[in-house]
């Protein structure tokens, strides 16, 4: 769907993205990185607002810049808060959906459906000038999905939403992805995205640091031991067994004999072996977690080393 091949974009002496190559297909992909990482530049290249300085950017095999054939199949929710404050939310969505080529009954039904989907039916006929930040995010999402695009690109779509709103928007995006759409979501808030997808593109200072499944990326980082925490009433006995495993680097138990913290460089082998040990020795396990499998940890490892 979206393909960047050695794409770079400079603004005079300032770099936006540098030699980025990646492909994004159906499903939800999160574009992650701190502010200034180049996320917005990448999205603006993909949505045909910018041209790459070098390299190529393609969507559906075509150059997206000012290309109606590409834009017809694209829904874009920009980061900006500014909207047309003097018109209603419904007029806003209608205007942009007309520009996407819909008209008549189909236009009206698609506009109403998308407004309902983002939970804005009650406020759609109010002027946008009176909207809260969360309402603005929702109506922006409505205009992006109203014409049923194949690719949905959303720049920080969860900003300004309350927890309920975040969950609702996440559900809308999941529905889109389940219907075979390509959904790209940029964010600098890792835990928000973590709930949405495990497929990530990680950027920092204009470069693409990593792409793929968060667990696969984490497993590739062998420089850093993988941390695992196990809660068990038999922590001491469990720790002794685990220490015998050749791929476990260290084991630490708390004084209350209820928790084991270990480090391993081969998490997959550990995950294979662990159930065997527990069952063989009849050890009760109350909880099992790996704090390193979350995005925050992956991000810190890749960005900070």
């Amino acid at each position: 769907m979206i393909a960047l091949d050695h794409a770079s974009r400079w603004y005079g002496q300032v770099i936006g993205i540098n030699d980025v190559s990646c492909q994004i297909g159906p499903g939800i992909t999160a574009l992650l990185g701190p502010n200034g990482a180049g996320k917005s530049t990448l999205l603006k290249l993909a949505t045909g607002q910018l041209r790459p300085t070098t390299g190529t950017v393609k969507m559906f095999g075509m150059t997206p810049f000012a290309n109606p054939k590409v834009l017809r199949r694209l829904g874009y929710c920009p980061e900006i808060e500014q909207l047309y404050d003097d018109i209603t939310g419904r007029e806003f969505v209608t205007m942009l959906t007309i520009m996407a080529g819909l008209q008549g009954l189909l236009l009206r039904s698609r506009v109403s459906e998308s407004i309902e989907l983002v939970g804005m039916s009650a406020n759609a006929d109010r002027k946008i000038g009176g909207y809260s930040k969360g309402m603005r995010q929702r109506i922006k999402l409505a205009q992006a999905i109203a014409h049923d695009p194949d690719v949905l690109i959303l720049d920080e779509p969860l900003n300004g939403l309350d927890p309920v709103g975040r969950r609702e928007v996440s559900m809308v995006l999941h529905d889109q992805a389940e219907n075979g759409k390509t959904v790209v979501v940029s964010s600098h808030i890792l835990y928000e995205v973590e709930q949405m997808t495990k497929n990530i593109l990680l950027m920092n200072r204009g470069r693409l640091l990593a792409q793929g499944d968060i667990y696969q990326i984490r497993s590739l980082i062998d420089k850093h031991p993988h941390h695992i925490t196990i809660l068990s009433p038999q922590a001491r006995a469990l720790g002794k067994r685990l220490l015998d495993l050749p791929f476990v680097l260290s084991v630490r138990m708390d004084p209350l004999d209820s928790r084991v913290d270990l480090e391993t460089r081969e998490p997959e082998r550990f995950y294979d072996k662990f159930p065997e040990i527990v069952l063989e020795h009849g050890i009760v396990v109350n909880a099992f977690e790996s704090p390193d499998n979350n995005l925050e940890a992956v991000f810190n490892y890749l960005v900070n080393g």
């Binding site: 974009r9 603004y11 300032v14 936006g16 200034g36 917005s40 530049t41 603006k44 949505t47 045909g48 607002q49 910018l50 041209r51 000012a66 109606p68 054939k69 590409v70 834009l71 017809r72 694209l74 874009y76 920009p78 980061e79 900006i80 500014q82 909207l83 047309y84 003097d86 018109i87 007029e91 205007m95 942009l96 007309i98 520009m99 996407a100 080529g101 008209q103 205009q143």
Partner: protein
């Protein structure tokens, strides 16, 4: 349907509440000034007053200022508010995004300046004696001026940053003075508009500096030349603006970073 929709929303945008008030103010201003100064009581011929006020206030100020504001605003307002992103990521050729906005700007400028001229004539002459002044000719030429100025300022907005500032400098610098100076007269659109809509000067003992300079140079622009030049300026500026808008990037740098 897309074109009509864009035209409708662009027109509505131009006539938002605050702007509408300012526009109504401009429509009323020439007539209000005439009424406040009570020219009629000084025994001056109302037709002569019309000939003085229409070129100075309607052509020279209202037409030009509205053309600058609405012509540049057709695109620069969207860029400054960053809402242009919504228009540029829709499957509509960019020239078709810009053209309805230009037409809306020309329509609003034309209607406003024509209403100002008409109201001025009604206040000065009364509804029954409108034919004494060249009001019909002015109502024809004002939209021509709105189109020419609108296209020039639209081109300016597609090419440079802060087009409003540069547009105002051009409008009240070159356009205010060039028509009166030999040599540079032909770079001013107002010079051609004055040929198409000439107004006789008020007879007076004192002479305006610009009229004095103007009197030194005989009228060198024919009516047909004026039509051709205004037509060409409108067409070429509009075409160049549509082309530039189709090719250029309109993403503020701070956003892109």
């Amino acid at each position: 349907m897309t074109d009509f929709c864009l035209f409708k929303y662009a027109t509505r945008d131009l006539l938002r509440s605050r702007r509408l008030l300012a526009t109504i103010g401009l429509v009323i201003a020439p007539a209000a000034i005439v009424m406040l100064l009570k020219f009629g009581r000084h025994g001056i011929d109302p037709v002569s007053i019309y000939h003085v006020f229409t070129p100075a206030l309607v052509f020279g100020f209202i037409l030009v200022i509205l053309s600058v504001v609405f012509g540049t605003g057709a695109i620069s307002q969207e860029v400054e508010q960053k809402t242009i992103v919504y228009l540029l990521t829709r499957p509509v050729p960019r020239w078709r995004v810009l053209l309805p906005r230009f037409l809306a700007a020309v329509l609003v400028t034309s209607v406003t300046s024509c209403l100002a001229a008409l109201l001025l004539a009604v206040v000065l002459l009364g509804p029954r004696h409108l034919a004494d002044a060249p009001i019909l000719r002015d109502l024809l030429i004002l939209p021509v001026g709105a189109a020419a100025y609108g296209a020039v300022f639209l081109l300016l907005a597609t090419l440079i940053h802060r087009p409003l500032l540069w547009g105002l400098l051009y409008a009240f610098g070159i356009e205010s003075w060039a028509p009166y100076f030999p040599g540079i007269q032909k770079v001013s659109l107002m010079a051609y508009l004055r040929v198409l809509a000439p107004h006789t000067a008020l007879e007076s003992d004192s002479v305006d500096l610009r009229d004095m300079i103007s009197s030194l140079t005989p009228a060198a622009i024919s009516t047909s030349t004026a039509w051709w030049v205004l037509g060409l300026v409108t067409a070429l500026s509009l075409a160049a603006a549509l082309l530039a808008f189709s090719k250029r990037e309109y993403v503020p740098r701070e956003d892109a970073e």
